[in-house]
């Protein structure tokens, strides 16, 4: 049966919130995943697809696709590289560092003097420590950072790692996966 008149596909807010939870946890791996979600939410497949499209358009998503775990793929070294940059050059240099595919995060954060002088944080995954070190050297050369103070903080033990608890409404959703993902 075809609908005779156009249907308002604007998703209601409660659908959006539920969709955010579901796509954070992952799609069901079935032939028609959006239809499966629709059934769960008691709405149409089109409403689900449009709802996800809207979430993507809002800019809240970094990406929507296959989320890989670097460690399981042999990327065992993780270095957080912290840089002490002149404040007026953070944006320019941040964009330079952030353009490389082996850099998985690149953020400006505040200095906390005197204990903490670094204002730019970048994350590099590599198969081993020397691969990470080589990539840091590459960045230094490419972005003209000779003489800029920086340190590489390699990760060691992981004491706790989990995503946000999506079922607990008090805690916000979707977070950075700063270490292994």
């Amino acid at each position: 049966m075809r609908a005779d008149k156009p249907v308002d596909m604007t998703p209601i807010p409660c659908l959006q919130a539920a969709l955010i939870r579901i796509i954070s946890e992952g799609l069901p791996l079935v032939k028609r995943p959006y239809a499966a979600i629709a059934e769960q939410l008691n709405c149409s497949e089109t409403a689900v697809i449009n709802g996800i499209r809207e979430i993507i358009a809002s800019g809240d998503l970094k990406r929507f696709g296959v989320v890989v775990r670097h460690r399981k793929l042999g990327y065992r070294a993780n270095g957080m590289v912290v840089w002490d940059l002149p404040d007026n050059r953070v944006t320019e240099i941040g964009h330079c560092i952030g353009q490389y595919s082996f850099v998985t995060l690149c953020y400006q954060r505040p200095r906390r003097l005197p204990e903490w002088r670094y204002n730019l944080f970048s994350m590099i995954h590599g198969r081993d420590r020397s691969a990470v070190t080589e990539q840091v050297e590459f960045i230094v050369q490419q972005c003209g950072l000779q003489g800029v103070e920086h340190e590489v903080l390699f990760s060691k033990r992981c004491f706790k790692q989990r995503g946000a608890d999506y079922r607990n409404n008090r805690l916000p959703l979707p977070l950075e996966q700063p270490v292994n993902e």
């Binding site: 998503l61 775990r69 979707p174």
Partner: protein
């Protein structure tokens, strides 16, 4: 680490973003790769079971919903496990790990708003007896198109 097939490599590398928003997204991926839809689904299911793929879904930006921060504590080596356990016991802490540095304990804390986040950080300081560096995100400088896996 096991060897990955050509199909697995392409699924892992080429579909980290832009999953088709069509009724049958895995059929579209299968068309692009020249394989059957069931092969794509079975392969993704296997990779997910193995833990190589955490999910097929969304990665959100931080700080879009609620408040979060990256925090660090400098802890004497002998006390690290003890302090780490205290930090991990907070529900608001979702990543907590050791790094090689004088500041050797790093964690991500999230809360429903900034005020609650600051409360949590003060509670952590009070519980463990060490000062917490609060390093919230100010600006983000990269376009995340996923991670380019190099197959060796």
């Amino acid at each position: 680490m096991r060897e990955f097939s050509q199909l697995e490599q392409r699924l892992l590398n080429e579909f980290q973003h832009g999953l088709p928003l069509t009724p049958e997204p895995f059929a579209d991926i299968a068309d692009q790769l020249g394989v059957y839809e069931t092969t794509v689904l079975e392969t993704l299911q296997r990779l997910q079971t193995e833990g190589v793929v955490s999910r097929v879904g969304a990665v959100f930006r931080p700080n879009r919903i609620g408040a979060s921060t990256l925090a660090a504590i400098a802890v004497p080596e002998t006390e690290l496990q003890h302090v780490a356990d205290i930090v991990s016991s907070f529900a608001e802490v979702n990543h907590n790990y050791e790094r090689e540095h004088r500041f050797n304990l790093w964690f991500v804390a999230v809360a429903e708003d900034e005020q609650r986040l600051q409360c949590v950080l003060r509670e952590i300081e009070a519980s463990c007896g060490y000062k917490v560096l609060d390093l919230p995100l100010l600006n983000e400088y990269f376009i995340d198109l996923g991670f380019d896996l190099k197959w060796i």
